[in-house]
Amino acid sequence: MSTGAASDTRPAIGRGFRLQWEAAQDCHVLLYPEGMVKLNQSAGEILKRCDGERDVAAIVADLETSFGASGLEKDVLAFLDMARQQKWVQW
């Protein structure tokens, strides 16, 4: 059984999924075969940093700098575990 996300996990967008900004909907969307998920702002901001290169620690640091926040790691890890179950991300 695979383990959950950790600070050294390097998440990437799942195979067959595509993340893009949709001006007509004013949000990021995840596209997959015959479907679409509209993302809220925080989900969009996390996923657009999931490039398979950066680890979670780097993603969290970038988010905290960009939004002047702190202590985001727990929320990011919980989101990534949920997103992986949905196959939105892989690692």
């Binding site: 067959g16 893009q20 596209l31 075969p33 679409m36 179950q85």
Partner: protein, 377 residues
């Protein structure tokens, strides 16, 4: 329509490139009179439609038919759709998807392929499609995987194959599908002509649902199964197309724009054509798209129903086909005064070995012309 009710964008563009098809499926949802509509849009027309719909916010593009592989400009259209930022889906029987074309489509940016099967066995697949295509479909499935496309397998489910559902799911898993759509037949077009042959019994459906539930556990997320329930066995109607003119925009082979692929049958509506009108005006301004939007068009029992926002009165085509009134409640609803039209059909299905009025009708141009003449007599 007031400004507050302005609809969202046409997120889903279904490009029905052609009604031509090498298969002759008994449940095909193309119009029964498809042989009359043979003036296909040109490549330039389609490229313009793709651009205009994308400007209006379309994001999913399905290339369908008929068999879209019969258009030799498919690669050009996919490339443009990809460049514009669509997620591109090809809905195919697999016929014509050879090694060269599948590689060219990949290079053009095709995101996903939905492959249809009619059954898990060669005999039933080939019988239902009236072709010898089972072996070819297996080869195409392997080719789709070899080119690392995500694969959706689509199987229309009905009385003649529903008892094979265990083997159908096993086949999809063995072929490596990521998604399996077990789409219970909806009774429109050719499926409506053949309804008494295709409508399963309640017991058959319950058994199929139990088998599907067992597989879902066993698959542990490896393949996702969508089991589309047949609305004839329900007592509330489906929210058809997720609302009239709400999400879906279908462009038929001759350029007619429709809120769903069967809406052309409805009387008294003037559906626009992309040869004459922009996608913006079609979606927001045309009478055909505004007519059944929202709830303002409803009469009783829908108008005063507390569930009207939920199901939007069900399906206009089904209401028209069964009651001859396109503004009636969908007779699937138990509140419809014509609900007996549904329960009678289901009761006939329960009578094993019941008498059918006619043999199965296989989709094809000759049958299309015959049925069109009969209905205009």
């Amino acid at each position: 329509m007031n400004a507050a009710a302005r609809p969202g964008p046409p997120l889903w563009l279904l490009a029905e490139l052609t009604y031509r098809c090498p298969l002759h499926c008994v449940f095909c949802y193309n119009p029964v009179d498809f042989a009359r509509h043979d003036q296909e849009l040109s490549t330039d027309d389609w490229l313009r439609v793709l651009r205009e719909a994308r400007e209006q916010g379309s994001v999913q593009c399905g290339f369908s038919g008929g068999e879209p592989m019969l258009r030799d400009d498919l690669e050009v259209l996919v490339a443009e759709a990809h460049r514009l930022g669509y997620y591109t889906n090809l809905l195919t029987s697999g016929v014509g998807l050879d090694e060269t074309r599948i590689a060219d489509l990949k290079a053009a940016g095709l995101d996903h392929i939905q492959l249809s099967f009619q059954d898990s066995t060669r005999e039933v697949n080939d019988f239902l499609s009236h072709t010898r295509t089972f072996d070819l479909k297996e080869k195409v499935a392997a080719r789709i995987k070899a080119h690392s496309y995500p694969m959706v397998m689509n199987v229309v489910i009905h009385r003649l194959n529903i008892d094979h559902i265990d083997r159908i799911i096993g086949m999809a898993d063995a072929l490596g599908a990521e998604y399996l759509e077990l789409a219970n037949s909806q009774y429109y077009s050719w499926a409506q002509v053949n309804r008494d042959h295709l409508l399963p019994t309640r017991e058959q459906i319950e058994r199929a649902e139990a088998v599907t539930a067992r597989w879902r556990k066993q698959l542990d997320g490896r393949m996702r199964i969508f089991f589309v329930v047949p609305d004839y066995h329900e007592t509330r109607p489906k929210r058809c197309m997720n609302g009239w003119g709400n999400v879906f925009l279908t462009i038929t082979p001759d350029g007619t724009a429709l809120p769903c692929h069967t809406a052309r049958m409805l009387p008294g509506l003037d559906f626009p054509n992309v040869r004459d009108m922009s996608v913006h005006d079609i979606w927001y301004e045309s009478e055909g798209f505004n007519h059944y939007r929202g709830t303002g068009w409803m009469k009783e029992p829908c108008a005063s129903c507390d569930e009207k926002e939920k199901d939007l009165g069900g399906c206009r085509c089904q209401a028209y086909m069964l009651t001859r009134d396109p503004a009636a409640a969908d007779p699937v609803c138990a509140k419809s005064p014509q609900h007996h039209l549904i329960t009678d059909a289901v009761a006939r299905a329960e009578e094993r070995g019941g008498i059918r009025e006619h043999p199965l009708v296989f989709r094809g141009p000759a049958e299309s012309r015959r049925l069109t003449e009969e209905s205009s007599d």
